[in-house]
C-alpha cells in the first residue's frame, strides 16, 4: 500500500506542475491584465508597475521564478492585497473555509447516507418521497435563497444564531447547513440508488438466511457494498466544500477563501490566481487519492498492482 501512496504522491506533484503551467499560460493569454481600467493608467505608470511585479520579464522566466518561490513555500504576492503574501492570505482564510466546509461535509455525509439508506429500504413510501423532494428543492433553489431563508427564520426571527461573521461556534451552524444542503441531497440520492442495487444481491439473501439481525445485515452486508459510489462522490464534494463557497461566504460574511479565486480571476491578480488554483488543485487531487485508497479498504477486490 505504501508503494502505491508514494507513486500517487509523485503523480500528484506532476499534475500540480501541469496545472500550474497551464494556468500561467492561460492567465497571460486572457484579454486584460491586472492594470486594465476603464480610466487608463499612464503608460509610464503601467511600465513601473510591471517592473515592480516582475511582469516585464519573459514568460518562462516569470514561471521559473514562480516555481522557485514554491520550493520555499512562497506562493507569490497578490496585487489587490498589498499587505499580505498569497500564502498568508490563504493561510488566514483557509482555516475558516476548512472548518465550515468540514462541518458541512460531515453533516452532508451523515444526513445523506442515513436518508439514502432509509429511502432505499422503505422504497416508494413517504421517506423515499421526502428524500426526492428535498434533493430536488436543494438542487434547484440557489444557495443564495437558502442562506437568506435561514437568516430570516433563525437569526432575525428566532434569534438562535447570529446573522453571520466568524469566531464563535454558533456562527458556523447556519452557514454549514446552507453549505451542506445540496451535497447532502446528492449523497442521499447516490446512496439510495446504490443501496437499491445492493439490496437485490444474492449475498444479502444469504445473510438473512443465516438469521442475522436486520441491523447487522444492513451495516455489514448492504451498506459496505453500497459505499463505492458514495465514496467516489464524497471525494470531490469534500474538496469543493473545504475550499469554500462564494455564495455562502458572501451571505454570512465569512472571510474564507471561497471568493478568492473568482475575485482573483476577475481582477487578473496573477499572484493570487496561481496561489488559489494550485491550492485547490492540491486539495482535489489529494481528496481523489484518498478516495482511491478507500476503494481498496472497502472492496478487497480492487487491488492496485
Amino acid at each position: 500500500m505504501t508503494r502505491f501512496v508514494i507513486r500517487r504522491v509523485l503523480w500528484l506533484i506532476l499534475v500540480l506542475l501541469v496545472v500550474s503551467f497551464v494556468t500561467f499560460a492561460l492567465m497571460h493569454l486572457v484579454p486584460g491584465g491586472p492594470w486594465s481600467r476603464d480610466k487608463q493608467l499612464a503608460p509610464a505608470v503601467v511600465a513601473a508597475l510591471n517592473a515592480k511585479y516582475g511582469l516585464d520579464k519573459p514568460f518562462l522566466v516569470q514561471y521559473g521564478n514562480f516555481l522557485v518561490g514554491i520550493l520555499h513555500g512562497d506562493l507569490g504576492i497578490s496585487y489587490s492585497y498589498q499587505d499580505r503574501s498569497v500564502t498568508q492570505i490563504l493561510m488566514q482564510g483557509f482555516p475558516k473555509s476548512a472548518i465550515l466546509g468540514g462541518t458541512a461535509f460531515i453533516l452532508a455525509m451523515i444526513v445523506g447516507i442515513a436518508f439514502g439508506m432509509a429511502a432505499a429500504l422503505r422504497q416508494n413510501t413517504w421517506i423515499d418521497y421526502v428524500c426526492v423532494m428535498f434533493s430536488t428543492i436543494f438542487a434547484s433553489v440557489p444557495g443564495f435563497v437558502l442562506g437568506i431563508l435561514l437568516i430570516i427564520v433563525f437569526s432575525v426571527g428566532l434569534h438562535w444564531f447570529p446573522t453571520g461573521g466568524w469566531g464563535s461556534p454558533s456562527q458556523v451552524i447556519m452557514p454549514a447547513v446552507a453549505l451542506a444542503a445540496l451535497p447532502a441531497a446528492f449523497i442521499a440520492r447516490i446512496t439510495r440508488a446504490s443501496t437499491l442495487e445492493t439490496m437485490r444481491q444474492d449475498y444479502v439473501r444469504t445473510a438473512r438466511s443465516k438469521g442475522l439481525l436486520e441491523r447487522v445485515v444492513l451495516i455489514r452486508h448492504i451498506l459496505r457494498n453500497a459505499l463505492i459510489p458514495v465514496v467516489t462522490v464524497a471525494g470531490p464534494e469534500f474538496a469543493a466544500l473545504v475550499t469554500g463557497s462564494v455564495i455562502v461566504e458572501t451571505i454570512f460574511s465569512i472571510p474564507g477563501v471561497g471568493r478568492l479565486f473568482v475575485e482573483a480571476v476577475f481582477a487578473r491578480d496573477y499572484g493570487l490566481i496561481m496561489g488559489t488554483v494550485l491550492f485547490y488543485a492540491f486539495i482535489i487531487s489529494f481528496a481523489n487519492m484518498v478516495v482511491d485508497i478507500l476503494y481498496g479498504v472497502i472492496d478487497p477486490r480492487i487491488r492496485y498492482d
Binding site: 484579454p31 486584460g32 476577475f266
Partner: protein
C-alpha cells in the same frame, strides 16, 4: 464644479421624429440596412439593466436591433483601451473637480483616455489655451467654448450621473460629502466628523 454651464448640451432631448430625420439624412430611412450594432459593457452592477433598457428603447422607438455584448470588467477595459468595440458604455470619475482634469484627457487628440478617437483641432487649440491661461474667468470662458465644440460634435452621449445616498445617524455630526468621495461617503473630510453623546 467650476466652469459648470447648465445650458450646455440642452439641445439634446428625447425626440424620436428628429432622430428618424437624422437617420434618413444619413441614408438609413430603412433601418434594416444599418450594419449590425454591438453594444459592449462591463457586466457588473446595474450595467446589464442599462444596456437592456437602451436596447429596448432603440428597438421600440427606432426599430433598430442592437446586439448586447456583456464582458467581464478586465476584458471590457482592455477592449475599450484598445478601441476594440463599436459602441461601449463606460464611466469617468474626475481626479480633481476642474475642467483641466476632464476635458483634455477625454477629448484631446490622442489623449490617454480619448477612447472614441475624437479629434477636433478647434477643441485642441481652445484646450491648450485654457490650460495655459492664469486668469480664472478667462480660463473658464475658454473651457466653456471648448465644451460647446465637443457638445456639437457629440463624440460621446452622456446618459446619467451616479448619485449617492447617505443615511447618517443624528448623533454623527460634521459629515460633508463631496463629489470626490472614495468608497465611503464623506471620507474626503473625515477630520471634521464628531460623534455627539447619545
Amino acid at each position: 464644479m467650476p466652469g459648470y454651464n447648465a445650458n450646455i448640451g440642452t439641445q439634446y432631448v428625447f425626440n424620436v421624429t428628429k432622430a428618424k430625420q437624422l437617420l434618413a439624412q444619413a441614408g438609413y430611412s430603412d433601418v434594416s440596412k444599418l450594419p449590425q450594432i454591438t453594444f459592449s459593457y462591463s457586466n457588473t452592477g446595474s450595467n446589464p439593466t442599462v444596456a437592456q433598457f437602451l436596447q429596448g428603447q432603440m428597438q421600440q422607438n427606432l426599430g433598430i436591433n442592437i446586439v448586447l455584448d456583456p464582458e467581464d470588467s478586465k476584458t471590457f477595459s482592455n477592449n475599450v483601451n484598445t478601441g476594440n468595440f463599436m459602441w461601449a458604455f463606460f464611466g469617468w470619475g474626475a481626479d480633481y473637480p476642474d475642467p483641466d482634469d476632464w476635458l483634455p484627457a477625454l477629448f484631446g487628440t490622442g489623449a490617454g483616455n480619448n477612447h472614441t478617437g475624437y479629434s477636433n483641432p478647434a477643441f485642441d487649440a481652445l484646450s491648450t489655451k485654457a490650460l495655459a491661461e492664469l486668469d480664472n474667468t478667462k480660463r473658464l470662458a475658454d473651457w466653456d467654448q471648448a465644451q460647446q465644440v465637443v457638445m456639437n460634435d457629440a463624440p460621446i452621449i452622456g446618459i446619467f450621473y451616479r448619485e449617492g445616498f447617505v443615511l447618517v445617524k443624528p448623533y454623527v455630526k460634521g459629515i460633508t460629502t463631496t463629489g470626490m468621495d472614495g468608497a465611503l461617503p464623506g471620507d474626503t473630510f473625515y477630520n471634521l466628523v464628531t460623534i455627539a453623546s447619545h
